[in-house]
Each structure stands twice: as C-alpha cells, then as structure tokens.
Amino acid sequence: MDIIQILSLALNELVAPMTVGYILCAIGLAVHFGFTGLLNFGQAAFAALGAYGYGYAVLVFGWDLWGAILFGLICAMAFAALLGIPTLRLRADYLAIVTIAASQALRFTVGSSTAAPITGGSAGQSQFGESFYALNPFPEGEYNLGTVTLTNLELWMRVVAWGLVAIAALFVFALTRSPWGRVLKGIREDEDAVRALGKNVFAYKLQALVIGGSIAAFGGMVFVMSSQANEPTNWGTNFTFITWTILLLGGAATILGPIVGGMVFFALLTLIESFLEILVNAGLLPFLLIEQVAQIRFLLVGLILMLLVIFRPQGFFGNKKEMQFNG
C-alpha cells in the first residue's frame, strides 16, 4: 500500500455516509450540550430510533420514503419527550444517567429475540433502502472524484447525506442566532437566573432535547442507508462516545465544529490504521499483530485527542476567549 492509496482511503472516509451519520449526531449533540448544556450520553439511542423507525415503516407498513422518514423522526422525538419530561426538571447529571441507561436498555431491547418480529432481533433490519435509491438521479456508471471512484448509487447517497448536513447546519445556525438560541445559552450558563427572568426553562430544555434528537435521527438513517443494514450492535455506547469526541474535537458550541471534527476524526482513524499496517508488515512493530491494528488505532486516536483537549480545549472552532473562564 503506497502513500497515495492511504490518502485516498482517508479522503474517502472524509465524505463517507458513516462519517456523515456521526456528524449529524454530533450537530444534534451540539444543540444539546454545546448550546443548552444538556448532558446527553445516549445520542446512540436517538440515532437508533431514527434508523429503526425508518426501517420498520418501510419493511412492515410498506410506507414510501417520506412517510418512513417521518415515522423515524417521530420515534426519536417521542423518545426525547419520554426521557425529558421526567428528568429535565432535575439537575443536569440526572439526564446523563438516564440517557446512558435508556440507550443501553433500548439497544438490548431491539436486539432481543422477543422484539425480533418488530426489529429483526440480533440480525437487525436490511434491504429497506429501495425507495431511497429509486430516487437516484445520476445515470449508471462510475464517477471519479479526484482519488475516489464511486458508483452512481454511492454518489447519490453522499450527495443526499451532505445535503442533510448543510440543512442541519443552517437550521442550527439560524436557531442559535435568534433570541430563542440566546435563551438556550442562558440556560447553559445558569438556569435559575434565566428562570428569574421569566423564561420557561423546562420547555426550552425539552425543545432542545427534541431538536437535537431529531437531527440525530437523520444521522441514524444516513448511517444505515449506505449498507442497508441496521444491526443493534451499531448503537452501543461507543457510538455515543465517538459522537462526543467529534463534538469536542471541533468545538462544542459551534456549527462547523462537529462537521470538521467528524471528518478529521475518521480520516485520522484511517490514516493511523494504514500506517500501522505498513509498519507491522515491514516488521518494525514486532510486538503487534496485524489483527490488533484495528484496536490499537483507537488507542492512538485517544492519545491524540487527549493532547488536543489539553492543549486546545476549545476544539478547532471554539472561541479561545470562552475557555479562559472555565479554567
């Protein structure tokens, strides 16, 4: 494997649908954590509900694309309301506990054999993307984008995925620049102070939870659409924590942060894996087996992230001035 190949692999990861899935979830998390201060450690569950809701509507109801998207969205919103109504009145840390527990419970539930008639159990759902790919406007053939060659369907998937990122980013941008967004930032700083100014803090927190969860639902749909396979193992805690990493990497209270953070994270992951493979194959890392590379790369990424958080805690796009006061 030469350097050009490695770079083209990394470039492919940069725009891959999986990357976009995580980016959308991270944008949702930016609404939750970056702007409102809600500690949501169950973003995987919102994404999973989007994906499962979509799959269920297509496979069981036989709905078309739009109906299925709406159903996935409603599932995630209902979940946000279900979690938010009892916990958002409590202190912030309770939401963290409830969301992480609920996301784990959801993952085990959809993967259980009892739920198999609805969710497909441990095998999950597959072949639910027909109506999506039927809309593909690109003629059959291969498309060469610099170093990456894509089929027309792959290209369609990426165009739609990045279109969604653009819409989500504009949506959040418009919201955070409005007085509504100002209230959210106020709640992040001190919710009692905002309450004392006559704002219904609970309603704002619930709205933020629902909106961030809805964006994550789209992330989940994009995540499973390229492979047309939705398995319960996708939605473990590592999904949530990768999302958090992406958010913090880019900058929590920013719009561009999650987007660039996601691209950098996955490109870095691929680069490290490829370089390690080269080194192992050349016999330069005798203590490492080629099979272990996939695991060790997370370790190295973790190390890099730690350094980044220590030396640039505001992320790529965060305001350095903001961080000075958190000291």
């Binding site: 100002r182 009692d192 905002v194 100014l197």
Partner: protein, 285 residues
C-alpha cells in the same frame, strides 16, 4: 409611633396602607428545622423595604419561597391581589416580580449586552417557530437593544458591552444583574444582598440606582447586612430572627427596638468590633 406606611402602630405583621405583597402563614421546614415561619407580612408599594436579620434567620429562604424557587410547607401569599402560592418561578417573574441572587448569577459566557437582552420579556423571537423568521423579531430586538444600552450607560457598564460577563469584576456583575432585572420594567424588585462584595466606590452608585428605582415607582425589597445602607435608603425595615418576623417599622425606630438589638445588632451594637474581639480574647485567657 405614627408613620405614613402602616395602618396604626408599627409592629410585626402590621397592616400597610397600600401593600403590594401580602403573605400569610408561610412556613418552610428543612427536616426538624423551621427555617421560615411568617404569620403575616405586608410589603408597602412604592417604598424601599429592607429585610434584615442575623445569618440563618430565613431571609433568603423567604425570598426563594415568595419567588417560586422553593416550595413552602404551608402558606399563601398574594401579589397585586393575585395568589402566587404554587406558581412556578418564571410565571412569578412574568408578573413583574423580579429577583436577584445572593451569589450573583451573571450568565458568564454570554456577552454583557446579551445578558441584558435576555432580561426583556415577551420576545416573539424566543418562540421556536418565530425564531426562524427574523422580520418577526428584528424590530423588537432593536428596541430592547436600545433600552439595554441605555441601562448599561446608567450603570456605567457601556464600556463592557461586548465583553463576556465572566470578564466583569464581582461588583460589576452585581450591577449587571440589577440592570438585567430592570430590562422587564418590574413592579417589584427583590434584591438579595445587593451590596455583598461590592467595593465602597461602587456602593454609592448602587445606592443611587436603588433610590432611582423608587423614584420611578418601583417597589424594592432587599436583604442586607450593611446597617449603613439600611439606615440610608430604606423607608421600612422588617427584622427576621429564627424564621419569624420580630420587628417592623421605619429604620430609625427599628434600630432602637430592644428585640432587634438583642436578636441582631447584639449587646455591643455601638461598640467598635475590634474592641469587642479584643475583650473576648482577654476573657478567654
């Protein structure tokens, strides 16, 4: 003694000529401790009322109860004739009863001007759907920004307009919190220790701001330990001790009240604190 605030004699729980806030049988227990046990109290409209008392007298707890930040075990209270018991704090604020906090709550990572804008009420742009349509709220935004700038100038914070609130000094944060409370044109301002941690140079301007409030027809209720300030600006003083109201009256009268001196000012009220401390040390030896 006659005065122009109470109906008849000034005594704990006395009736006022024109009360804005009336509380009855308000109690709050924390486990076995009764923090607040107020039988009856009325806050006079358009006046500056000081709520004083030793540490642990229940002043802040009483504030929290009145503003919906805490729930009482028993009690009712009305503001402008409206029953407020059980009403959530944000609704209390919307009625024009705005409070500040003992530990200043400036919104650190919002700019000073955004802190101020947040204080305005009834903003269309604070609704989720209207937030997307700028023409629906841009005019109002301009109006409240102009008002905020005016208040910032009055409170001498205009130079800090674009700074994060976190960059302000403790005293400036107190000023910002008070200015922010005024954004909604409140009818009753409740200040919890407005002078705590404020340097003497700022104290004078804070006092002036509080007097200005009264001149503009706003009712002020404040908790304070600084007797100098209480004597200086308040029209009426309510003294709490161990959760109960032990005395009420105009400042000059209350300061002479034996119950107040015993409960609060202490036997050494007129002695220099340094001397008291030295004497105690000598006794201890």
């Amino acid at each position: 003694m006659a005065n122009d605030i109470s109906v008849g004699k000034a005594e704990p729980g006395c009736k006022k000529i024109d009360p804005i806030l009336v509380a009855d049988n308000v109690t709050r227990q924390f486990g076995g401790l009764t923090a607040v046990d107020v039988k009856h109290v009325e806050i006079p409209r358009g006046k500056i009322t000081a709520l004083i008392g030793p540490n642990g007298a229940g002043k802040t707890t009483f504030f929290n109860l009145l503003t919906g930040f805490d729930k009482p075990n028993t009690g009712t209270w009305t503001y402008e004739g409206k029953d407020l018991a059980g009403m959530p704090s944000y609704k209390v604020a919307r009625l024009g009863m705005i409070r500040t906090f003992q530990l200043t709550k400036a919104l650190s990572l919002l700019t000073v001007i955004d802190n101020m804008r947040l204080g305005a009420q009834g903003q269309a742009g604070e609704g989720f759907f209207k937030a997307f349509i700028r023409p629906l709220w841009s005019a109002n935004e301009k109006r409240i920004t102009a008002k905020a700038d005016e208040l910032l100038t009055r409170f001498k914070l205009d130079a800090k307009r674009e700074d994060y609130a976190a960059a302000l000094s403790g005293g400036q944060r107190k000023l910002l919190e008070m200015a922010r409370a005024l954004m909604s044109d409140p009818k009753l301002v409740m200040l919890d220790e407005p002078m705590a941690g404020v340097n003497p140079a700022l104290t004078q301007s804070l006092l002036e701001h509080i007097k200005d409030l009264k001149n503009n027809g706003t009712t002020v209720l404040f908790v304070e330990h600084d007797m100098h300030m209480v004597r200086n600006i308040s029209d009426w003083v309510i003294v709490m001790a161990e959760g109960k109201i032990v005395a009420e009256g105009p400042p000059s009268q209350v300061m002479k009240d034996q119950a107040v001196i015993d409960a609060y000012l202490g036997a050494h009220a007129d002695t220099d604190l340094g001397t008291v401390a030295i004497n105690k040390i000598k006794v201890g030896k």
